[in-house]
Symmetry: C2
Subunit: 273 residues, 2 copies
Amino acid sequence: MTDPRDEIDVETRSQLLEAALELADLCAETTASIVGSGFEVSLKADESLVTTADVETERVFRARVAERFPHMGILGEELGDSDPDSDYRWIIDPIDGTAEFARHVPLYGCIIGLHYRQRPLVGVIDHRAMHLRCHGAYGLGAFANGERVRIDDWPSGRAADSARVGMPSRASFLKPTEAGRVFSAIVDAYPNFRAYHTCYAHTLAVIGGLDAAMEWDTPLWDLGATQVLIEEAGGRYHCMREIDIPGKGRHYAAVFGKPAVVSDIARIAGEVI
Amino acid sequence: MTDPRDEIDVETRSQLLEAALELADLCAETTASIVGSGFEVSLKADESLVTTADVETERVFRARVAERFPHMGILGEELGDSDPDSDYRWIIDPIDGTAEFARHVPLYGCIIGLHYRQRPLVGVIDHRAMHLRCHGAYGLGAFANGERVRIDDWPSGRAADSARVGMPSRASFLKPTEAGRVFSAIVDAYPNFRAYHTCYAHTLAVIGGLDAAMEWDTPLWDLGATQVLIEEAGGRYHCMREIDIPGKGRHYAAVFGKPAVVSDIARIAGEVI
């Protein structure tokens, strides 16, 4: 089985990573300028929050991509899916953790991914307010603020229940159908969990602040950068399921981090669903 | 019923608050210098983590208090309880969130309280790595990075289940006897919770990043600054229970933040225990 990403030479991947980092700078500047001048918060149809900063950041991102890469598709949280069948597809969540952002909690982040034929090629998670950015690209490694990062495995023989696992809050498990059973089973097994409710958990799984983290039935833009960052750091990313939620499209449940912890959480979730 | 804190004039309270802020500076400098030169991590008898930074920070704090306020008692997480019957009692957790600190997750904090006749007089929570400090004193208000903060109540008529509540991780509920029942009841009612596992949750309850937060059966040094900060910001602090845990001394369960959310969580916990 060949990986379609191997069709892209290293030089091109490196240039696309540079482009993603420039786009992350552009998004950070746009969000910051809106923070400086004040923003409005409103409720979306699905009752999640959106601010003028989310929409404007994604708009600026899309305009720049359209200019530089007119043949590539774009999927964004706020402004939809354009050209979804193109080989290259940029994926953006301009402000992941809008509820944190709106309350001035700095754990939110901008997520940028570039996928090639459904496979993650480049990823950036930028926590502007924390001065923390992870980036990576297929075959080129994963980095935190420019320093290479590597994920160790969980030591065999050490009790799993002391592992630190980043969980979505229980609310995330209630949105579709699980009624909290998956949540309960995992926090029973991993009581030393954390719930940040933003992509800060993904970042911590990449840089070693958590042993693993997970999302449950979430849209692709929440996970657009995570797989390539985790895998390039030497960790494991495992998709537990894909489901189509009526009116919301395809959603994903994934766990990622130290391979042994990822396998164990996937097993627990598999027994419950 | 008179409050013993009214015995202390405003000028004296103000001086004691200044002293607490100087002590917080001293602790931050001590911790930072140890971070710079490297620190060791080890397990305590209760299997929680301690680093050389925790111990050295508390040692420096105690030495300064003994020099400036030789008649006052000191309770610290790492180095015990001296003169517990004195009217004035300094309370310190030099690094709350040692596990976060050891993994370079910046959400840890230094907690400093000064209590007078068992009542909280002065409180400081300092998140050195996040450049965020809350301080307050009885009758003098609560502040975040020098700006006055005020806690609004939860709007009546708005569904409580969207409130953001800071929870300890489930592990905290398992230490003594509760077997997770309290945890489950509260996250059922407040699925939109966060779990930071450090005093960052207390800080967010003070500055409006969370609607309420709680601790379950935790030592006094984890709560040494919280009550005065919450109350001076206009919120409610409610002690749900005090218990003596063999070999560990007195522990406290408390909930604090917006009055309506605090009352509701206290009710839920009361029905379970």
